[in-house]
């Protein structure tokens, strides 16, 4: 294993939607700063955007205001959102959209040159190449160096706790990098792979969220003492059966309603928030009225044709399925199912506890995109806005910091840890990364509200889940790796185990059912007004400490008390 050093004014960890946009912003607004962007994969197709996206889900159309968007997101999340974050995000949506169009994204326009919207907050696009366009823009930035196929493992910290960089492991070459910077932006996305997926066997990674976003940013933050918020607002996607392809295109695009096996429309019985649409399917299935479908039968051939293309631009498996079976959406309704739960701050409100400048509770560390909390429904354009705000804040911070040198002792600790992990075990090991991951997913599935539990759990079950996760964490400490790729897999497992541990404590702390399915606590089936608060957490002396915080409402602006 080779140990290498790199330094820059600003380090961006994760070159997805938020990280790439942060890099582009720093190049435009601070061309004299040196920027290092590190990603575990190649940025052309890394992260959520790999296959392409269907629409820009967040945009303020004429006649609407950023306040409308914030109100909508607050209602969908039953009030557990940060209004200051939602507003600062919503106000930037249209500007980043215009910029993305300049970078080459095709957005549908009418004859008058106005964007064509889908509903009041979505724009129709060709999103297949959104990631290659972003990556190409980043590569044109003269002050941005891109380091690919290096997975960040932990932050580097100064004595006062300030974040001064990160270290990571080469996935393809056996190299460890010490990446030092004056300011750091975390943009590693959310966490998938915590729960047993829809297809645990040969298609175990055929999931909605990127299976390669393993929650590194959450785990790194927790280990460094950062405060997190709202992990318990899990995101569970309602998707086309088997292909796990998006359903919004069918529901909003051709106006397909949900129907059960008897062809009855049932949505009105359950409400129409994101979690209620999923809860409706779960409930119909539990009542023996499944499977559930989106009622597409009877759409025109021309509509079917357009849908096939739309799916090829984001989820080709769906088009393939229609073609292979010879049963397109015009001739057969599309069956739907719920995915396994994820922790993802771009859809729900889980992630770093930040201020409006996207500063975390650790000096020098900023967060943007799915890894940042408090601001749900930001989607790809919201991730861009947060990347931009975080870039501006990080630049201002970096201008005032001399930058700290990594101590010889810290360097030695990391080196020793890596060398220990690479030492072959004395006897052939009983457990592997794979077997512990499987066990973790099974525990979460059965005891912490996974698919087989109908997303429901009790306090007693959460207690069992916590005990098992503790056991698996202990077992994971004996695992060893053979090379860089193996090390990264081992670190990913440990990240996920830590996130599971914190998630369970969050689920326990919200003694109510504020969101059906997303956090369905069978011991507390109703809402509790006393819990109109954020559930936050941090690790302190190795223990998960839960902090309840008051809601930040319209007109308020939260500030960290450093």
């Amino acid at each position: 294993m080779e140990f290498l050093d790199k330094a820059a004014d600003v380090l961006i960890i994760g070159g997805g939607a938020a990280g790439c946009y942060a890099a582009i912003t720093l190049a435009e607004e601070h061309p004299k700063l040196s920027v290092l962007l590190v990603d575990k994969a190649g940025i052309k197709r890394s992260g959520c955007l790999a296959a392409g996206v269907n629409a820009l889900n967040a945009y303020i159309t004429p006649g609407h205001t950023p306040e409308d968007y914030a109100d909508y997101a607050a209602k969908d999340a039953a009030g557990i959102v940060r209004d200051d974050l939602l507003l600062t995000m919503s106000r930037g949506l249209n500007e980043v959209t215009r910029r993305m169009e300049e970078l080459g994204l095709v957005i549908l326009k009418d004859e008058a040159g106005q964007y064509v919207s889908r509903g009041w907050r979505n724009l129709k696009i060709n999103g297949e190449n959104i990631k290659p366009l972003l990556a190409a823009a980043v590569r044109r930035c003269p002050n941005v160096e891109v380091l690919e196929h290096v997975s960040a493992v932990d932050y580097l910290q100064a004595d006062d706790g300030a974040v001064t960089g990160a270290w990571g492991v080469g996935v393809r070459q056996d190299k460890v990098y010490f990446l030092q910077a004056k300011a750091v932006i975390c943009a590693t996305g959310g966490a998938a792979g915590l729960y047993r997926p829809n297809h645990p066997g040969s298609s175990r990674h055929k999931m909605w969220y990127s299976p390669f976003n393993t929650g590194a940013g959450y785990a790194m933050g927790l280990r460094a003492g950062a405060e997190m918020t709202t992990f318990e607002m899990r995101f569970i996607a309602l998707r086309c059966k088997d292909t796990i392809a998006p359903t919004g295109t069918l529901a909003q695009g051709v106006g397909a309603a949900q129907v059960n096996a008897a062809g009855e429309r049932y949505q009105h019985k359950y409400g129409n928030t994101t979690s209620e649409r999923l809860y409706a399917v779960v409930s119909e299935n539990l009542a023996g009225r499944g499977p559930c479908y989106l009622e597409t039968e009877g759409i025109t051939e021309a509509q079917q044709d357009s849908l096939e293309r739309a799916y090829l631009n984001m989820a080709p498996a769906q088009t393939m399925k229609w073609r292979e079976t010879g049963l397109g959406p015009a001739s057969a309704n599309v069956e739907v199912e719920g995915s396994e739960p994820y922790v993802v701050g771009g859809h729900t409100a889980s992630g770093y506890w930040i201020d409006a400048a996207r500063a975390t509770t650790l000096p020098g560390l900023f967060a943007a995109g799915d890894v940042a909390g408090g601001c749900p429904q930001k989607y790809v354009t919201g991730a861009f806005v947060e990347g931009k705000i975080a870039a501006q804040s990080a630049a201002a911070y970096a201008a005032e910091r001399p930058g700290a040198a990594l101590s010889a002792a810290a360097r030695e600790r990391i080196r020793t840890r890596i060398e220990t992990l690479l030492t072959p075990p004395a006897a052939s090991p009983l457990f592997t990364v794979e077997s512990l991951e499987e066990a973790m997913q099974q525990v979460m599935d059965e005891y912490a509200g996974g698919i087989t539990a109908g997303y429901r759990y009790t306090e007693k079950q959460l207690g069992l889940a916590a005990r098992h996760i503790e056991r698996l964490t202990r077992l994971s400490e004996n695992l060893r790796a053979a090379d860089g790729y193996g090390l990264v897999q081992l670190f990913e497992l440990q990240e996920r185990l830590l996130i599971c541990r914190v998630l369970i404590e969050h689920l326990k702390a919200r003694r109510e059912t504020r969101w059906h399915a997303f956090a369905e606590n069978l011991d507390y089936p109703g809402t509790n007004p006393a819990l109109e608060k954020y559930v936050n957490s941090r690790l302190s002396d190795g223990k998960v400490q839960i902090i309840y915080r008051d809601l930040v409402k319209r007109g308020d602006r939260y500030e960290h008390q450093h």
């Binding site: 994969a41 190649g42 129709k124 996935v171 298609s203 990674h205 990127s210 090829l312 631009n313 393939m320």
Partner: protein
Amino acid sequence: MSISIEPEKCVGCGRCTEVCPGNLLEMTAGKAAIREVRDCWGCTACVKECPRDAIFYYLSADLGGAGGRLYAHDTAVSLTWQLRLPDGSEQEIIVAKNKANAY
């Protein structure tokens, strides 16, 4: 389990190994190989990237697959998807890059 590499078509250019978001593809003895096929997300980035049609996408059995193979040719103006069905028939769908989705 979603992609398969046809070694006889692979010319070893390495392009697919650059784009996999999970670093699943690597070069072994001059040919591309997947580390663990169960870890594939099915994003088709590698399918689009391969200049030789050496990688195809398929639906595995647990996803309801029936043996079709999906190839893609990526050019500056369009993405052409080619589906080869087990009965030997072929279907093609061309998606223009300058056209937005209708839905």
